[in-house]
């Protein structure tokens, strides 16, 4: 069924409320932030309206560049790990009996109800020397003595993947369930082992979904602020941590705003690039 395009202003009526909300609570604050990023900072925590680029200039240093690079790398790694773990998991989940699927999905949803703080401290306990998982490895004789697995990059990654995996699975699940199950069977009758069929039928057929999931988890992970501080060392802190530090503890609003704007621009650029590559790949 093809819908008619809106004829009069009244036809746009249903859009007014969401558009208004978006304007008041998103566009206006973001505009304020962009404006503040060009303001002049005053010693003592204040800023005066101006139009200076000093905040952005300060950002162009090896230190902040390094932090930005690390933040992007961490977010990409989390996104890739989530999809690599989530895709086979969700596929196997979709082949379970209906009742078991529901149990798994409820368990995954319950992870979403945990706050980031709880996830962070739970993993810091699990990875600690005194009470952590390494004690189990000692008990079964793999390790000689318990070790502390945090703070480390691995610990940050583990915590963030744990936090983002339920989202990943919930995004992948409907697409995988909707996929015609006979596609995989057809691949098998044509001589593909189940594992090969997974890679050369399921993954390409779900290409757009996988792309969308990667982008979603990437953006989700880019805003991570608490877990790198709980589970990582200072060199594992993300740009979000530095932004908070500047905004709250250093009282340098203009600089924090400039970093935030820059992060948004880089994110948009990367997402755009991904979509562009995805579209080109589809044509080829």
């Amino acid at each position: 069924m093809k819908r008619e395009p809106p004829q009069s202003i009244a036809d746009y009526g249903p859009l007014f409320f969401p558009a208004g909300m978006l304007l008041v609570f998103f566009v206006v604050p973001f505009g304020t932030m962009i404006a503040v990023s060009f303001f002049q900072r005053q010693e003592g925590g204040f800023y005066t309206p101006a139009f200076v680029f000093s905040n952005y200039e300060r950002f162009l240093s090896a230190f902040f560049g390094g932090v930005l690079g690390f933040s992007l790398m961490l977010a990409i790694t989390v996104a890739v790990c989530c999809v690599v773990l989530g895709l086979p998991f969700t596929y196997l989940l979709s082949r379970l009996p209906r009742r078991l699927q529901v149990i798994w999905l409820v368990a995954l949803l319950s992870v979403l109800s945990l706050s980031e703080v709880i996830i962070g401290f739970a993993w810091s306990t699990l990875l600690s020397r005194t009470a952590g998982l390494s004690n189990l490895l000692v008990a079964i004789g793999i390790l000689g003595q318990p070790v502390a697995l945090f703070p480390s990059f691995g610990a940050v990654l583990t915590g963030m993947v744990y936090q983002a995996l339920p989202y990943t699975i919930l995004v992948l699940y409907p697409a995988i369930v909707r996929l015609d199950p006979t596609l995989m069977e057809a691949a098998r009758t044509l001589g593909s082992s189940p594992i090969r069929a997974f890679f050369n039928v399921l993954v390409p057929a779900l290409r757009n979904t996988i792309m969308a999931t990667l982008i979603m988890v990437f953006i989700f992970a880019l805003g991570s602020y608490l877990l790198p501080q709980i589970l990582g060392r200072p060199q594992h802190w993300t740009l979000s941590v530095l932004i908070t530090d500047q905004a709250i503890y250093q009282s340098n609003m203009p600089f924090a705003a400039a970093m935030a704007v820059f992060l948004v621009l880089v994110t948009l650029g990367l997402v755009g690039l991904t979509l562009l590559i995805g579209r080109k790949g589809e044509k080829a």
Binding site: L190, G191, S192
Partner: protein, 345 residues
């Protein structure tokens, strides 16, 4: 023996038995249709042959070798699914080349084979098109070409034509049969459409309730059904009860019928008479008498509904042999013994 042999194959899903103790042998190069109502186990049987389901019991042999435990991808078969299952991310040519690519065939060989197959299915030059741009019939052919790409030992089709409209379906039935004869490939088709089965098959296997009721050439299935289910399921038929009278002679509705005998040792049986074999005569001249209740004149054929002994009997005739009867008239029904099939009850 060369060909496919199913030996005592059974499949259970929990407490439900989908296929029970099936024996079937399909000689090399024959075209077999598994025919039956939905839920009769025909698709499950095909999926077991393909290795997509494991039999609970029994063995499947191909050219003398037991393939019961062999995984699907090592069975060297081609299968066309009801949904066709064409890969949406690949073009027509890439879909057909998929099994060749999996086996690492050189690129030139892949291209040559794809061109060959596109010519075979009357779609030359379609290789670069996306699958989504094809019509239903074209997709059907591409699915067939892909299944045949490796010249498989077995060609399996699960309700392959059910998505097509009636006219195209009829044309594809003929085309599929001609293709099979040209390639001489052992083919098994699952269908619920008896017309499809009659058109294509060397052997029709009628299934019901997980059992094979009869496996025979189409004409034999039609002319000599093995039981009342087959007689009723294939085409339309009149099933009449036959009983022994005091002297042991066969009677229908209390009338003796000359030339018909009950099966040895039984007092009751059912006879099946095809509507085109029922002839109407003057009252008293036939085996039994009945009253005409309705005449349906379809132009090409005329169906006369006659009530006799509380049962409705249908007679079909051509306009040339038009029975000159009207509703309410009493007529004689002649049942010649050579067209009546006596079935055990």
């Amino acid at each position: 023996m060369s060909g496919l042999v199913l030996n005592n194959v059974t499949k259970q899903f929990g407490a439900f038995t989908a296929v029970e103790n099936v024996h079937l042998s399909v000689p090399h190069g024959t075209f077999v249709c598994l025919l039956g109502p939905s839920g009769c186990g025909k698709t499950t049987l095909l999926r077991m042959i393909a290795g997509l389901e494991d039999p609970s019991n029994g063995a499947i042999l191909l050219d003398g070798a037991d393939i019961t435990g062999v995984p699907t991808h090592k069975r060297n078969l081609g299968m066309v699914f009801q949904s066709l299952a064409l890969f949406p991310h690949l073009s027509v040519g890439e879909n057909i080349a998929y099994p060749l690519r999996i086996r690492g065939a050189p690129r030139e060989d892949q291209k040559k084979r794809v061109d060959e197959l596109l010519a075979l299915i009357h779609l030359p030059g379609y290789g670069d098109r996306p699958v989504s741009k094809l019509s239903g019939g074209q997709r059907q052919r591409v699915a067939i070409a892909r299944a045949l790409a490796l010249s498989p030992r077995l060609f399996l089709l699960d309700e392959p034509l059910s998505a097509l409209d009636a006219k195209l379906r009829e044309a594809m039935q003929v085309e599929l049969r001609q293709l099979q004869q040209k390639l001489g490939i052992t083919t098994i088709v699952v269908t619920h459409d008896q017309r499809e089965a009659m058109t294509m098959a060397d052997t029709v296997v009628v299934m019901n309730g997980g059992h094979i009721r009869q496996a025979a050439p189409p004409i034999e299935i039609y002319r000599k059904p093995a039981d009342t289910f087959v007689a009723d399921f294939i085409g339309s038929t009149n099933l009449l009860d036959m009983q022994a009278d005091g002297s042991g002679a066969a009677t229908i509705f209390g009338h003796r019928v000359k030339g018909l005998n009950l099966p040895d040792g039984s007092q009751k049986a059912t006879i099946s008479v095809r509507p085109e074999d029922v002839h109407l005569t003057a009252p008293g001249n036939g085996a039994i008498d009945g009253t005409v209740t309705f005449v349906r004149d379809l132009g090409g054929t005329i169906e006369t509904f006659v009530e006799a002994g509380g049962k409705q009997i249908i007679a079909v005739s051509t306009p040339r042999e038009r029975p000159d009867v009207v509703a309410g008239q009493t007529v004689g029904i002649s049942l010649s013994p050579d067209v009546c099939v006596v079935l055990k009850q």
